[in-house]
C-alpha cells in the first residue's frame, strides 16, 4: 500500500473503531437509568471472578481483586461517577475557604457494619494511615500533599494541603482512600483478613480461592439501596471456565479480560456492558540501560511499532489508541494524531538508528508477564518483538512469572524494556505525576526532564480547568517527544451478564460500587 494512503486508512479505521466503541458503551448505559424506580428488592447475584484478593486491606493492597471486593464494603469521602466527577458520599457537602483548605461536612448517623458510629475521627485516622511516611500504603505518594487533618467536631473535618492541588477530589475518590473504622484497626491490629466499612454490603464470608460472600447492609445510608440481598463472588481462575459457567447460568455476571473470548459470549440471553477504560498496555523503556538513554533510539523504537496493528490483532479492535492520557480523560487527552512518534514509520526509525550509531540495530531484552497472568499484555509483547525486528532491533522476549518480573522492574531495575499495564487514575495529575516526575515513585523509565517536571508541577497547582487543560496539552506533547514509554492501547472494558441483571453501571475506573443499584428481573 502507498505509504501516504496507509496512515489515512489507519486513521479512518481507528476513527471507526472508537466511534462504534463509544456508541456501544453509551447504549449499554443509557438503556437502564441507575436506580430505576421499578427496581425489585432481593435475590443473590453471583459473579464469576478471575482473581482472588491476596488480602483485604484497602490501604496496603493495590491488587485489583481486593479493590473489587472492597468497592462494596467501604465508602470514601467522595465518589467518582461515570464521568469521573466527584459526588458526595460520606462527605455530604464541603466548602473551600482558600485554595489550600477544605472543610468537609460528613453525613450524620452513619454506622459501620459492626454498629459503631462513623465520625470525623475515622476520617482523620484513615487518611493518616494512608499518608503515614513510615507506612506501606500504595496511596502514600498521592496523600503526601496533605499538610494536616483536623477534627472540628463529630461531623466536620478540615484538611489543609501543603500547596493548592487541582486533583485533590480525584485522590479522595480513589480506591486507596477508603474510610476504615479506627476502633476496628486498633482492636484487630491490621485489616488483612477483616473488613468493616460503611458501604452497601457487609463481608459475610471470605474463603480464599473459593468465594467471597457479601450481604446487604441494612444500615446503609442511601435510602432503598441496595436492592440485592446477597452478592457471591465465585473465584474461577480460568476465563474459559468462567464463560462456560455464565453460559450455563451458574454465574450471573463476569468480566472479560482476554479480548479473544469476546466472540464466545455473543448469544441471546447475555448482554454486554462496554465502557471505555482508562487502563492501558504499554512498552516501558528504561533510560538506565544503554542505548535507551539516547533519545533517537527511543524515537526509533516508537516509530517501529504499529499500534493500530496491535490493537487490531491482540486487542481484536476492542479499544482505542492513546498518548500519555487515555481518551477517557475527555477534558484533557490530546488526540493521538497530534502527538509525535505515534505512527509507524519504519524508514524514519532506521534513519534515526543509523544516526545514533546503530545502523544494524542492536540486541536487547523485553520482559513480560506470563500469558496466563494477562494474555493481552503478553501477546502485545510478542507483536512488539516482531515489529522491533523489522528495524534491526533484536529483542529477546522473556515471559516471567509475576514475582520474578517485579523483582526485575522494581528492585534490580535492570530490564531494558518491559511490557506492563497501568490501571489508570481519574485525575491527570494522579495519572502522570508518579510515573513521569523525576522524583516519581513509579518512574520506571528514570525520565528526568526539567520541562516535564515543571509542567507536572504547574498542572497540579493550576485550579482553573481551562488553563489546566492547556498545561496538560503541552505536557502530553512534550512526553510524546521524550518517549519514556510506548503507549500501545487501552482496552474496552467488557462486563457480560444475564439479561435479567438490571441497573448495572460501569465507570472508566472499573468499580463494582454501583452494584448497589443492580436488581434482578426474574
Amino acid at each position: 500500500m502507498n505509504s501516504r494512503i496507509l496512515p489515512f486508512v489507519m486513521g479512518l479505521l481507528l476513527l471507526l473503531s472508537t466511534a462504534s466503541g463509544a456508541g456501544q458503551a453509551g447504549a449499554g448505559q443509557k438503556a437502564e437509568a441507575p436506580g430505576s424506580p421499578e427496581g425489585k428488592k432481593g435475590g443473590t447475584l453471583t459473579i464469576g471472578k478471575v482473581g482472588e484478593a491476596p488480602n483485604l486491606d484497602p490501604h496496603m493492597t493495590s491488587a485489583i481483586a481486593t479493590r473489587r471486593v472492597l468497592d462494596l464494603v467501604y465508602s470514601k469521602l467522595v465518589i467518582l461517577n461515570e464521568k469521573m466527577e466527584a459526588a458526595p458520599d460520606l462527605a455530604e457537602s464541603w466548602n473551600i475557604p482558600d485554595a489550600k483548605t477544605y472543610v468537609f461536612h460528613l453525613r450524620k448517623s452513619v454506622k459501620f457494619h459492626d454498629g459503631s458510629p462513623f465520625t470525623a475521627e475515622d476520617v482523620k485516622f484513615s487518611l493518616e494511615r494512608i499518608a503515614d511516611p513510615k507506612g506501606t500504603s500504595w496511596g502514600r505518594a498521592a496523600l503526601d500533599i496533605i499538610d494536616k487533618i483536623e477534627v472540628i467536631d463529630q461531623n466536620t473535618v478540615k484538611i489543609t494541603l501543603k500547596t493548592p492541588h487541582a486533583g485533590f477530589f480525584a485522590i479522595l475518590g480513589s480506591d486507596y482512600a477508603c474510610i476504615v473504622s479506627k476502633s476496628v484497626v486498633q482492636r484487630h491490629g491490621h485489616l488483612r483478613d477483616i473488613a468493616v466499612g460503611t458501604g452497601p454490603f457487609k463481608l459475610a464470608e471470605w474463603t480464599t480461592n473459593v468465594k467471597t460472600e457479601l450481604v446487604r447492609n441494612e444500615l446503609y445510608y442511601k435510602p432503598g439501596l441496595p436492592y440485592l440481598d446477597r452478592i457471591v463472588m465465585q473465584i474461577i481462575p480460568d476465563e474459559l471456565s468462567a464463560i462456560a459457567a455464565l453460559k450455563t447460568k451458574q454465574v450471573d455476571m463476569t468480566r472479560l479480560q482476554n479480548a479473544r473470548n469476546y466472540r464466545l459470549v455473543s448469544q441471546p440471553g447475555l448482554k454486554l456492558v462496554e465502557t471505555e477504560n482508562l487502563a492501558y498496555i504499554y512498552l516501558g523503556l528504561n533510560f538506565k540501560v544503554k542505548p535507551l538513554d539516547d533519545i533517537r533510539v527511543r524515537r526509533a523504537i516508537a516509530l517501529a511499532i504499529n499500534r493500530e496493528g496491535i490493537l487490531r490483532t491482540v486487542g481484536m479492535g476492542r479499544g482505542s489508541l492513546l498518548g500519555p492520557l487515555a481518551p477517557g480523560h475527555t477534558q484533557f487527552a490530546v488526540p493521538i494524531d497530534q502527538l509525535a512518534y505515534s505512527k509507524q514509520d519504519v524508514a524514519e526509525a532506521r534513519r534515526l538508528l543509523k544516526e545514533a550509531g546503530y545502523p544494524d540495530g542492536f540486541s536487547t531484552e523485553i520482559i513480560s508477564p506470563l500469558p496466563a497472568d494477562y494474555a493481552n499484555i503478553a501477546d502485545s509483547g510478542v507483536a512488539v518483538q516482531a515489529m522491533l525486528a523489522q528495524v534491526g532491533i533484536k529483542a529477546e522476549l522473556k515471559q516471567l512469572e509475576l514475582a520474578t518480573y517485579l523483582n526485575r522492574t522494581d528492585r534490580l531495575k535492570d530490564a531494558p524494556m518491559f511490557m506492563q499495564m497501568n490501571s489508570g487514575r481519574a485525575d491527570p495529575d494522579d495519572q502522570l505525576y508518579s510515573v513521569f516526575h523525576s522524583t516519581g515513585p513509579i518512574n520506571r523509565a528514570f525520565l528526568n526532564d526539567a520541562e516535564v517536571d515543571r509542567l507536572l508541577g504547574l498542572g497540579r497547582s493550576t485550579l482553573d480547568p481551562k488553563e489546566r487543560a492547556r498545561v496538560y496539552e503541552a505536557l502530553q506533547l512534550r512526553l510524546a517527544e521524550q518517549v519514556p514509554m510506548v503507549w500501545l492501547y487501552c482496552e474496552l472494558q467488557t462486563d457480560v451478564m444475564q439479561d435479567y441483571v438490571k441497573g448495572f453501571l460501569q465507570t472508566p475506573m472499573w468499580t463494582y460500587r454501583f452494584l448497589e443499584q443492580v436488581w434482578l428481573d426474574k
Binding site: S62, K247, E401, L402, A403, P441
Partner: protein
C-alpha cells in the same frame, strides 16, 4: 520389630525435617519475594515502604536468624500465618486437604475401575481387533494433556449436559449431593487420564502371568477358565498395578493443580501454587510438608496392600 518401626519413624521424621529445611532455603533463593508482589505494580516502590514491610514480616533479619526463628516455632507446632492473607496457614491447609483427598481417591477409583477390566480384556483378547482398540484408547489417554481433556469436558458439559456444574466447589459435609455433582467432572478428567497407565500396566502384567507355567498347570488340571483368569492370573498380575496406582495417587496430590485451576477447586495444589507465585513462604512450607507426608502415607498403604494381595509378603 518395635525397634524396626521406631527406627523407621525416626528416619521419617528426619526426612521431613531435612525436607522442610531444604524448602526453607530454596524458596528464599528464587528471585523476588512477597514484598515485591504486595508492593509491586502501582503503589510505588519507596525504599522506606519496602523496609517497613520487610521488617513487619521479619525478612530483614539474616537468613540464619530467620531459619532459627522459623525452626523454633515450627517445632512447637506454630506453622505461621500467611504473609498475604494474614490467616494461619494450618487452617487454610486443613480446609483444602479434603478437596484434594476426595479428588485423588475418586480419580484412583475411576482409574482402577476403568483400567483393570480394560487391561484384562486386552490381555485375553490378544492379537484381536479388541486389543488394538483398547491399546489405541490407552495411547490416546496417555498422550492427551489433562488441561485439554478438561476443557473439552467443560465445553461438552456446558453444551450437552448443562445440569452438570462445571465450576463452584461445595464442601462435602455441607451438601454431599451438590459436592458429588461438582466433583464429577474433575474426578472423571483425572481418573480417565490415569486409567490409561493402569490399563497398560495390567495388560502387560497379565500377559506375563498368562505365559507362566503355573497357569498352564492350572489349565491342565482342568480348572474353569474364569478361575484360572481371576484367582490365579489376575491376583498375581495386580502387584505391579498396585505399585503404579500408588505412584499415580502420589502424583495426583501435586499434579492435580491443573485440574484444580480449571474447575476452580480450592485444593492443596492451587494452595501451594498460589503460595509459590506470591512468594508466601509459610504457605509453601506447610504445603510441601503436607504433600511429602501424603506421599509417605500412600507408600505405606501400598506396602500393606502388597501383603493383602500376595501371601508371600505376609510370610516374610
Amino acid at each position: 520389630m518395635t525397634r524396626f518401626i521406631v527406627r523407621k519413624l525416626l528416619f521419617l521424621l528426619l526426612t521431613l525435617c531435612l525436607l522442610s529445611a531444604l524448602v526453607f532455603v530454596l524458596v528464599r533463593i528464587i528471585p523476588g519475594d512477597v514484598v515485591n508482589v504486595l508492593l509491586g505494580g502501582e503503589g510505588g516502590y519507596f525504599p522506606e515502604r519496602i523496609e517497613a514491610m520487610r521488617k513487619e514480616f521479619g525478612l530483614d533479619q539474616p537468613l540464619s536468624v530467620q531459619f532459627f526463628l522459623w525452626a523454633k516455632s515450627f517445632l512447637t507446632g506454630n506453622f505461621g500465618i500467611s504473609l498475604r492473607s494474614g490467616k494461619p496457614v494450618i487452617n487454610d491447609l486443613l480446609i483444602r486437604l479434603p478437596v484434594t483427598v476426595e479428588l485423588m481417591v475418586g480419580a484412583v477409583v475411576v482409574a482402577l475401575l476403568l483400567g483393570i477390566p480394560l487391561g484384562v480384556l486386552a490381555a485375553i483378547k490378544r492379537n484381536t481387533a479388541v486389543e488394538s482398540f483398547v491399546q489405541m484408547v490407552g495411547l490416546l489417554g496417555l498422550s492427551i494433556p489433562e488441561f485439554w481433556w478438561g476443557t473439552l469436558l467443560i465445553l461438552g458439559a456446558a453444551i450437552y449436559a448443562p445440569w452438570i456444574p462445571t465450576t463452584g466447589y461445595v464442601p462435602i459435609f455441607s451438601d454431599s449431593i451438590a459436592n458429588l455433582k461438582a466433583m464429577f467432572l474433575p474426578i472423571l478428567t483425572l481418573g480417565v487420564i490415569s486409567s490409561a497407565v493402569i490399563m497398560r500396566m495390567t495388560r502387560s502384567a497379565m500377559l506375563e502371568v498368562l505365559g507362566a507355567e503355573y497357569i498352564t498347570v492350572s489349565r491342565a488340571k482342568g480348572l474353569r477358565k474364569r478361575d484360572v483368569l481371576f484367582r490365579h492370573a489376575l491376583r498375581n498380575a495386580l502387584i505391579p498395578v498396585v505399585t503404579v496406582a500408588g505412584v499415580q495417587a502420589g502424583q495426583m496430590l501435586g499434579g492435580a493443580i491443573v485440574i484444580e485451576q480449571l474447575y476452580a477447586l480450592p485444593g492443596v495444589g492451587r494452595f501451594v501454587l498460589d503460595g509459590v507465585l506470591g512468594r508466601d513462604y509459610p504457605v509453601i512450607q506447610i504445603g510441601v510438608l503436607a504433600i511429602a507426608l501424603a506421599f509417605v502415607l500412600i507408600n505405606s498403604l501400598t506396602d500393606i496392600l502388597y501383603a493383602v494381595i500376595d501371601p508371600r509378603v505376609r510370610l516374610r
